[in-house]
Symmetry: none
Amino acid sequence: MEAALELFGSFGYHATSISKIAKKAGISKGLMYNYFESKEDLLHAIVIENIEEHEAWWNDIIKADTSPFEKLKWIIEKAVEMVRKDTHHWQLLTSLAFQPEIMKGLEDVLGQKQVEVMGQLVAIFTELGWEDPMKEAFFYGAFMDGMFLHYLQMIDAYPLDDMKNYLLKRYDL
Amino acid sequence: MEAALELFGSFGYHATSISKIAKKAGISKGLMYNYFESKEDLLHAIVIENIEEHEAWWNDIIKADTSPFEKLKWIIEKAVEMVRKDTHHWQLLTSLAFQPEIMKGLEDVLGQKQVEVMGQLVAIFTELGWEDPMKEAFFYGAFMDGMFLHYLQMIDAYPLDDMKNYLLKRYDL
Amino acid sequence: MEAALELFGSFGYHATSISKIAKKAGISKGLMYNYFESKEDLLHAIVIENIEEHEAWWNDIIKADTSPFEKLKWIIEKAVEMVRKDTHHWQLLTSLAFQPEIMKGLEDVLGQKQVEVMGQLVAIFTELGWEDPMKEAFFYGAFMDGMFLHYLQMIDAYPLDDMKNYLLKRYDL
Amino acid sequence: MEAALELFGSFGYHATSISKIAKKAGISKGLMYNYFESKEDLLHAIVIENIEEHEAWWNDIIKADTSPFEKLKWIIEKAVEMVRKDTHHWQLLTSLAFQPEIMKGLEDVLGQKQVEVMGQLVAIFTELGWEDPMKEAFFYGAFMDGMFLHYLQMIDAYPLDDMKNYLLKRYDL
DNA sequence: GATGAATGAGGATTCATTCAT
DNA sequence: TATGAATGAATCCTCATTCAT
């Protein structure tokens, strides 16, 4: 899964062959099929694992007994930390964004997760006193993903911390 | 090129075969090779054509004899109009963002263009009196691309005009 | 189709690879897929072609304006002639007899054909005055197929004409 | 062997994998190789076991101290009983009839057995006073195998007892 | 005796590309 | 300019078989 994620992220799902994954993982081609039913199944496993990982810290924050200010700050810091760590995963998800056929079977999970997160963001912005919390949530999401998109393409050339600080300042954090 | 763009955008470069493109375009597979050296060449032609198209209106605006306020407003309006029209093109570019091998040979053109645009944006924000115009250009870029990314995934469900208005308000336009 | 029939008949459907078929046919592996959607599709095409060929002469006889004696004699002579000529086809059908998954999609056609033929045989035996024409049709079918089965396994060592004559004598032909 | 016979009979030798056999037998894939050298060896063991089983009752009958009438009746009754019981075995043998490579190494045993049985049948028909006992043996064999072939394909829809009675009547049994 | 992880050859299928017409 | 038959490399996947435990 590690090898596959790296290759999927760097070259895309379709451009990565099972052969290359196996070689990188140091196993035989056939062995992959002892653990995953298909290439698609491997992809799904990777995506799900990562979703769960993110869900974990997200829920920790949401359920934490702190102010919405604290929560939002925490979320932003953590998200930036994560994108720095899970580079390949974000690249993979982005390049897959417009290929629903490949994600078939995950759409439901992903969609539901998205709705959930959005709701929790709206709740936070409501608590923070924003006039139109829904719109602010959309703004937050757009900026966050755009920032990540650019970071993933430029990496060290991107002023990620500056951008993060912009957000923190916006919310007086 | 039209047929290819639509398919590349909807299903991705690798998942789209020359056969399907030819069928959609109503020509034979062989004929494509009279006009394009390869599948990759076709992709490059599509990308370049679109870049030039965008360069055209962008330059028109930049060179126009108006205030930076007017220019920025114009750029934002036009960009939003374009993403609405050229859906497939943006989808294609996004899904290709992390597949450098396919874009080999275009990287230079794209990179140079990006630098140019960035410089012109910085100039505008400087004229507008922003304290850190570079940072603002990055912010603008991140929000714009993030907004487009979400719009392309949700289309009608996305409050694109609200987001656009957010930007306009930010710059007092 | 010719090459495939010969190999399918001699070695069985599963033991015959597309590679071997292509080599025998003197074409590339890929070309087969210009004409048939899959290996299974190729098999079906072969089976259907043969069914239609047999249906042709069978219907000619059934509709002919002759006595039931003449018809039955004709059928027996023709069937024996056919098994001698279409050796591989009969081998193929026999080896596939117990693998319904492979024949999926043909079962209906084959089943219906079988019912039809059976009905026409019963009609003939009725006209010939047999007490239990249904039972006689079953007898006829069993003997015919058993005879063919043995012929296909022993070929020249099998007294096919003797067996045919046995049948002709049974019906006073 | 039991599990393998069932699967081989139902789906064919090639379409049945060692994995499926092991799962059905409730053992590991590896364990099979402690008892059989290969998949082919397993098949051979199954076929040989069954041949020996049939040889047993066949020899009992042949050596029995009764009239040829009694013997033939006994043989017919027993054979019909066997096909009803050993459905999978007959299906397997039939589907393998035209795949000599798989049966390599068994051809001799099977061929010899066939010659032996044929000789004993001829002896019986000679004793029964048939003019051409050889031809009658071929007739008997063809009808018997054809009848079984049809029975195995139609099972309950086939009038097996009627067909058996036909034979019994033919020999005044 | 028993397991199942691991292998790798081989199979069906796809597809960019070529080329005779 | 246009076709589409033909190719063959590459892809995903299966499976008999081995072997350390």
